[in-house]
């Protein structure tokens, strides 16, 4: 069984970015928000959010530099 076989996740990937990094960000975003909702503000969740934001912006710049 792959990720594409999971309901909702499969649909999201099917209609999604067709790019692994963006797909990971699309799937990881709500999970991270859920963790923040449960755990609250902590060094771990703050770090996770900052890494998410940095991954998003640096990946766009990386793609820009590549093209």
């Amino acid at each position: 069984m792959t990720l594409r076989d999971v309901p909702v996740v499969g649909d999201l990937l099917e209609a999604g970015a067709e790019d692994r990094v963006f797909d990971v960000l699309l799937l990881g975003g709500p999970l991270l928000i859920l963790v923040i909702a449960i755990v609250g503000r902590s060094p771990l969740t703050s770090g996770g959010a900052i890494i998410y934001l940095l991954s998003f912006s640096s990946y766009i710049l990386y793609r820009g530099a590549q093209s």
């Binding site: 999201l12 209609a15 999604g16 970015a17 963006f22 960000l25 699309l26 975003g29 709500p30 991270l32 928000i33 923040i36 909702a37 703050s46 959010a49 900052i50 998410y52 934001l53 998003f56 766009i60 710049l61 793609r63 820009g64 530099a65 590549q66 093209s67």
Partner: protein, 516 residues
């Protein structure tokens, strides 16, 4: 029933089904927050469009595909009906608390929630939400149940992209007349040849940006529930808030500045976002509208900062810049978040007249076509400016000269120039006509001397531009019923760029035999 009515009914039914889906998804919120008393109201609100939608779609399943006229009527009536059905949760939740049914253990009634027991206030809030306006009938959003806070944010988030775009993404199949409907909802740009693929791409971009915005706001210090709601309403440039004084409640420069890129993202066209995400960063300056967004937001901020600083509205240059940049970007992106309020600094309605009119200018022009913003749109304003220059320069050329007008990388011939200029001029003209009508109505019904003329221009431009900034006129008590009805119309035509609504009204009057 004739063929056209069958087509319109079938497609309206699809929109109602999508709306029912939104309401049932929202059931998660009262469950998570323990507002169990709100669940019956939400279920009834969802069953209503579900029942009517199922009936219409199944009865007229075999109806023909929509043409251009049908598309416009479906868009106009669909948005109106969706706003009507979307008001039911406000009405039912307010009445659930008002009646205080003991079985449901409802909380105490508040003045803010009680305003929604009046159906006009509920419809106003719903129309304001779906059209991404953000003008509100609430006095204090903080005391609203979380369910309604969420519903307000959710309808703005969906409305920002478009109800038809949502319906197409979920329910439409390729070749089912989706293109006609898509174009009727004030959209024309396509990312892929297929409309269904285009709307799916729009949705994943929008989802991704929403997650990024939520996390950005949370990182700079906003509580998570606020970050979720404000990210949704900021990105969709809707502007509803869950706090009493909008963003001013946080009184944080970091939050103010973090919201600037979020609102700007909402004002850039989705096809440009797609290209940028693909790595083609040149679009930030090669695309005409995107380039002008940065130019005119920058220029507007500088002018506004100078005006409020020179007039001593703010004591320091930093404060003048902070509030001016936020308010101009908020106005020009049609988000409508407010940081200039009396509780923390100086309310917008008390800014110098020239500063208020500068903000009004931003609201009228708006951002890029193909984004989530309202207003006339940058491309039309630029087409008008370039078209006027082209016409004037024409006198200096011989009659036989073959001239081309270059707009956004396209070289238009005489016929194309006339067509594009005509469309921009018609919408621009109608925009100002309805702005004038709205001002006239407000001048008639508001108490003499209570508001200045610039306050009234500001408020009507805000409603029609789907912005949501307020000079203090809009409110459950301060705005008379006729004014609420006028604003409902302003918000409706503003979101659909006027023409589909006028076409629908004409079709109604003609077919209804009112003036035949």
């Amino acid at each position: 029933m004739n063929e056209a009515m069958e087509t319109i009914s079938r497609d309206l039914g699809r929109m109602f089904l999508a709306l029912a889906g939104l309401l049932f998804v929202s059931l998660l919120v009262p469950i998570v927050w323990g507002e169990y008393w709100a669940i019956p109201a939400l279920i009834v609100s969802g069953l209503l469009p579900l029942g009517i939608g199922s009936l219409l779609t199944s009865t007229f399943r075999e109806a023909t595909q929509p043409g251009k006229l049908h598309g416009m009527i479906i868009a106009a009536t669909g948005w109106f009906c969706v706003a009507l059905f979307g008001s039911v949760p406000f009405l039912l939740i307010a009445w659930t608390v008002e009646l205080g049914l003991p079985v449901l253990e409802t909380p105490a009634q508040t003045e803010t929630l009680a305003a929604f027991t009046n159906p006009i206030n509920a419809v106003f809030e719903s129309m304001s939400g779906f059209t991404g306006t953000g003008l509100t009938m609430t006095d204090n959003e903080e005391v609203l149940p979380r369910t309604l806070q969420w519903w307000r944010s959710f309808i703005e988030w969906v409305g920002g992209v478009g109800v038809i775009v949502l319906t197409t993404a979920i329910l439409a199949r390729p070749g089912s007349g989706s293109l006609t409907l898509y174009e009727s909802e004030a959209r024309s740009e396509r990312i892929h040849p297929s409309v269904v693929s285009t709307v799916q791409t729009i949705w994943w971009i929008f989802l991704l940006f929403t997650f990024v915005s939520i996390l950005l706001l949370w990182v700079v210090g906003m509580p998570l529930w606020g970050a979720i709601n404000h990210a949704m309403t900021g990105l969709s440039t809707g502007g509803f808030s869950i706090t009493d004084n909008s963003i001013a409640t946080y009184d944080s420069a970091a939050i103010d500045f973090a919201l600037l890129p979020i609102m700007l993202l909402g004002s850039i066209a989705f096809p440009v976002h797609y290209l940028i995400l693909q790595g083609d960063l040149r679009n930030l300056y090669t695309d005409l509208q995107t380039r002008w967004i940065f130019l005119y937001m920058g220029a507007g901020t500088i002018v506004l900062t100078a005006l409020v600083y020179v007039n001593a509205t703010y004591e320091t240059l930093f404060s003048a810049f902070r509030y001016s940049s936020f308010q101009f970007v908020s106005a020009a992106t049609c988000a409508g978040f407010q940081t200039a309020v009396d509780s923390t600094n100086v309310a917008l309605g008390r800014w110098p007249a020239q500063a208020q009119l500068t903000v009004t200018f931003g609201m009228i022009v708006g951002g890029a076509a193909g984004s989530t913003v309202g207003g006339i749109k940058l491309i039309r304003a630029l087409t008008l400016l370039k078209g006027i220059r082209f016409r004037i320069a024409d006198v200096f050329y011989p009659k036989t000269a073959v001239r081309r007008l270059k707009i956004n990388g396209r070289r238009l011939d005489e016929r194309e120039v006339r067509q594009e200029f005509e469309e921009a001029a018609i919408i621009g003209f109608l925009w100002f006509v309805f702005l004038g009508i709205g001002m006239f109505v407000l001048l008639l019904i508001l108490p003499q001397g209570e508001y200045t003329l610039e306050n009234i221009i500001f408020e009507v431009a805000s409603a029609q531009g789907n912005v949501g900034l307020s000079a203090g006129i809009t409110g459950p008590e301060s705005l008379p019923t006729l004014g609420k009805l006028m604003f409902l119309f302003n918000m409706w035509i503003g979101r659909l760029e006027i023409i589909p609504v006028l076409v629908t009204l004409r079709a109604l009057f003609r077919r209804g035999g009112i003036y035949q």
